[in-house]
Symmetry: C2
Subunit: 526 residues, 2 copies
């Protein structure tokens, strides 16, 4: 670790601590109280500073970055309201188990008591979406507090750490000394008892689901999990939402628990025991009158192979050893032949089938297709191998920012953002950052011009068909959103298409050229 020269400020100490602990990307939306930190960043060209024009872009990008880079970015947010604007996507990051270090500016320590107009309780705002929150008390505490924040963020499986930086702590001089090193605890080791209990369960002949999430959904551990499933007759399944999954042709076929409650209950019907691999017992996304909150049959036995903070790769390896699975037991890999291209008017299905067909190898798919993409896994069977990064916490407005982070983390790979129109509006400012940073992202807007999911939900809750007031709250067709103009206004080239043939042409062009491009897929009704 490099020593901090004695004349540096708290802001410099923070930059040095971040850089020396491997954090060199800062997604930022600063304000006055962060100006000394901005000045310190300005002295550190090694730090890549990326501006978002809204804080939800910043936090969502940090989520996408860490999902792909396997290390956190830092966010820079302006006081309580700036943090508040970023909370929805921190909620998603929290549910994705993504490591994020937030730096939130605060008034100078002596200024807080005057309750100036921008004053609010930042710690209280941070707490619901953070695993770790601390306000730095003095310039000389910056480096060690920042190291603690990094350690908290990076402890398995990944956490949200929010470090509040008062302006005077930022501009104040430090006494110097060494930059603190983050003491990141290793993930928990699997428990032998848990491994043996899981092995026994997998040998007892009962109808079993192996439910995986987190690092168990990378290609290699999925192969182990699939071999365990193949050998034991169990069914391998992923959680409903997961931070990242490696899937596609030549990789393990793994479905996810359906979003729809009835579909999930049907899917899990008859399950006698479930083996949790870093996952949680599946529950309904929402409650509905007369429907249960839990999705498993009431008598289903829960067997936890590994808690979320465990080394899941090691746990699966150990379980495979314990079961003495022969080398001849192969994982169930996706060898589905590529589907024929559809034709005619674009629908959600034909858009997604076409996209799967035309995906370049090792693309990164950021998915917020919401109601249009419920069957995405089935429709993209046999697509080239890719990383799949879905929205995880249900706080819409993640897709576009997520694609920024993924593209920054993986400059050599094409990022495809599959974005529902209604949800995309929450953080459309992300397109500007795509353009500014020349990021290699193809955004496909699934444009059905309504909160289609809510029309469905209105029916599901038994509330009937939408009348005038309900339509005024659920339809987006008056006026229609002009995504091509919106993208152009934010510096991103774009085209609208409404047939598969036109989509194929534009998508082919967009996949070949570098830099951002947006395609509005105008979907036929129904």
């Amino acid at each position: 670790m490099a020593p901090i020269p004695s004349s540096t400020t708290g802001a410099d100490a923070l930059c040095d601590t971040l850089l020396n602990n491997g954090i060199d990307v800062c997604f930022a939306n600063p304000g006055t109280s962060e100006m000394h930190f901005v000045a310190a960043l300005d002295r550190k060209p090694q730090m890549r500073c990326i501006l978002g024009l809204f804080e939800g872009v910043v936090t969502g990008a940090a989520d996408g970055y860490a999902r792909m880079a396997d290390r956190p970015a830092v966010t820079l947010l302006h006081l309580g309201p700036g943090l508040a604007n970023g909370l929805a996507n921190l909620h998603n990051a929290r549910r994705a188990q993504t490591p994020v270090v937030n730096v939130v500016g605060e008034h100078a320590t002596y200024h807080v008591k005057f309750d100036a107009p921008l004053t609010s309780d930042i710690e209280a705002l941070a707490a619901p979406m953070s695993h770790w929150v601390r306000t730095i008390a003095a310039s000389d505490a910056v480096s060690s507090d920042a190291a603690d924040a990094i350690a908290a963020a990076c402890s398995a499986p990944g956490h949200i750490a929010t470090l509040i930086l008062p302006a005077d702590v930022s501009w104040g001089d430090t006494k110097g000394g060494r930059v603190a090193k983050a003491k990141i605890p290793p993930p928990a080791s699997p428990s032998g008892d848990a491994v043996r209990a899981a092995a026994a369960a997998l040998r007892n002949g009962k109808k079993t689901v192996i439910l995986a999430t987190g690092s168990a959904l990378r290609a290699r551990p999925l192969e182990t999990a699939s071999r365990i499933a193949q050998a034991s007759g169990a069914r391998l399944l992923a959680q409903q939402a997961n931070g990242r999954m490696e899937r596609g042709a030549g990789r393990v076929i793994v479905d996810r628990v359906p979003f729809n409650v009835d579909a999930a209950i049907d899917d899990l019907a008859g399950t006698e025991q479930i083996v949790l691999v870093g996952s949680r017992v599946p529950v309904a996304f929402f409650a509905y009158p007369g429907k249960p909150s839990t999705l498993l049959p009431p008598a289903c036995r829960i067997v936890e192979l590994a808690s979320p903070d465990t080394d899941l790769v090691q746990a699966l390896d150990w379980l495979a050893d314990e079961l003495a699975i022969p080398a001849s037991t192969r994982p169930l890999l996706d060898a589905t032949p590529p589907p024929d291209l559809p034709t005619g008017a674009l629908t959600a299905r034909s858009t997604i089938v076409t996209l799967g067909r035309m995906l370049p190898d090792h693309a990164i798919v950021c998915d917020e297709s919401v109601s249009s993409g419920r069957d995405l896994f089935a429709w993209t069977r046999g697509a080239p191998p890719h990383d799949f990064l879905p929205i995880t916490g249900g706080a819409i407005g993640l897709g576009l920012p997520l694609s920024i982070g993924a593209a920054v983390a993986c400059p050599g790979r094409k990022v495809v953002c599959l974005q529902a129109d209604g949800s995309g509006m929450y953080t459309l400012q992300a397109l500007w950052t795509q353009a500014r940073e020349r990021l290699d992202i193809v955004t496909v807007i699934l444009s059905n011009r309504s909160y289609a999911i809510l029309h469905g939900e209105l029916r599901k809750v038994g509330a009937g068909t939408a009348g005038r007031n309900a339509r005024r709250m659920l339809d987006l067709d008056d006026p229609a959103l002009g995504w091509v103009k919106l993208a152009n206004g934010l510096g991103v080239e774009a085209a609208a298409v409404d047939t598969v043939e036109a989509f194929v042409d534009v998508l082919g062009m967009a996949m070949k050229r570098p830099g951002p491009f947006l395609i509005e897929a105008v979907l036929a009704p129904g």
Copy 2:
């Protein structure tokens, strides 16, 4: 009060309680957990439901509505992340002393413990920006809890009340009974001692500032305050930010405490005593190295005529009586002759001078001009009488939503939204609601293509001139924001201008026609 038929749900009881207490505008961004409330709203055509495509639009519109209507609207927000997205503008509403009733959906009471993906601690999120928070425990408590929320919101000077509505409380049947009536406490009566102390101070010949805010800034009480100032030799001043001020030709001339710390200290230098009329002791917006947090001379005496929850109109009337001000003492009214129209390239000054010159009578000006509008009061001296609604809490992204609420509250009046470009990006989705509701709003984007305020702040904190990383975080010119395309994409007609002459033409047209229009005023550098 109408009885609730016994078969109605909690959601119906909520609608009935809102309507029967005079709340008939709902700014909404609902989700699944609010579908029964949406269904109930659908049965109540008397409630005007207005969709925002992002929650900051919803809460900012509710702020603008109540500032002009003098009664609250209700917001409808989806769970914790939906509330979080609305917090920044609730922060502004809180600082504006605006009454707002938020209805935030929550999972069914029995579902919360399962920690489904969208679960978060809604009460904790609400608390920092709310004066009153309650989760409704049962369907039969809906009406009385809603009445309590309305009473809390409407108690002087205006508060944020957040009512959390679990899905099962919403869909559950009530036993019926009467709709609760909100028990709104009257504002506090002025204290005779305080009035006499203020009168004595105003007679002692010391250099005095009368600092007013809230309802004291309407035309009539301002005349009283101005007469008091004229009679006593005091200077009448408004707080730096206030929810609403009635100003313009024929109304009292009243300046506000400058935003800039040095300017404010200069402006208040020599003040020996300050009389607070619902206002707070002025403090610096931000702390800066070596500069004080307070703006008044250290020896300045504080005399509180009336606390914020007091009837300020009554307090001023009483003070005028106590001082026995003769009828011949006239208020200092604005009789400034209209300025000549500037010419040539648009600057912040020429844009605002022109706008002031061309304002229709009784327009409503929603101001988030930020750095471009620091001298707006000087530049619009002599403009036709108008209401002035500025950003109050420093959480940028209020201007466009605020204009929605003002236009909904005052359908016969032209609303002018003066919006800085960087700040406008936080909630640009508001333009779509302007179009959908055909609101009579002219938006003027002050386009300087940078966070100009932050370049200034970077210099002010002594951090020097922006280098590469700082410019990457403070400049908005790569790519330039295309506001005309953005507006068109959201259904609003628009034009860009860069000379006064072109601005005059387009503004004249936009002022004459009904419905929304956006003008991007591309400002010359410097």
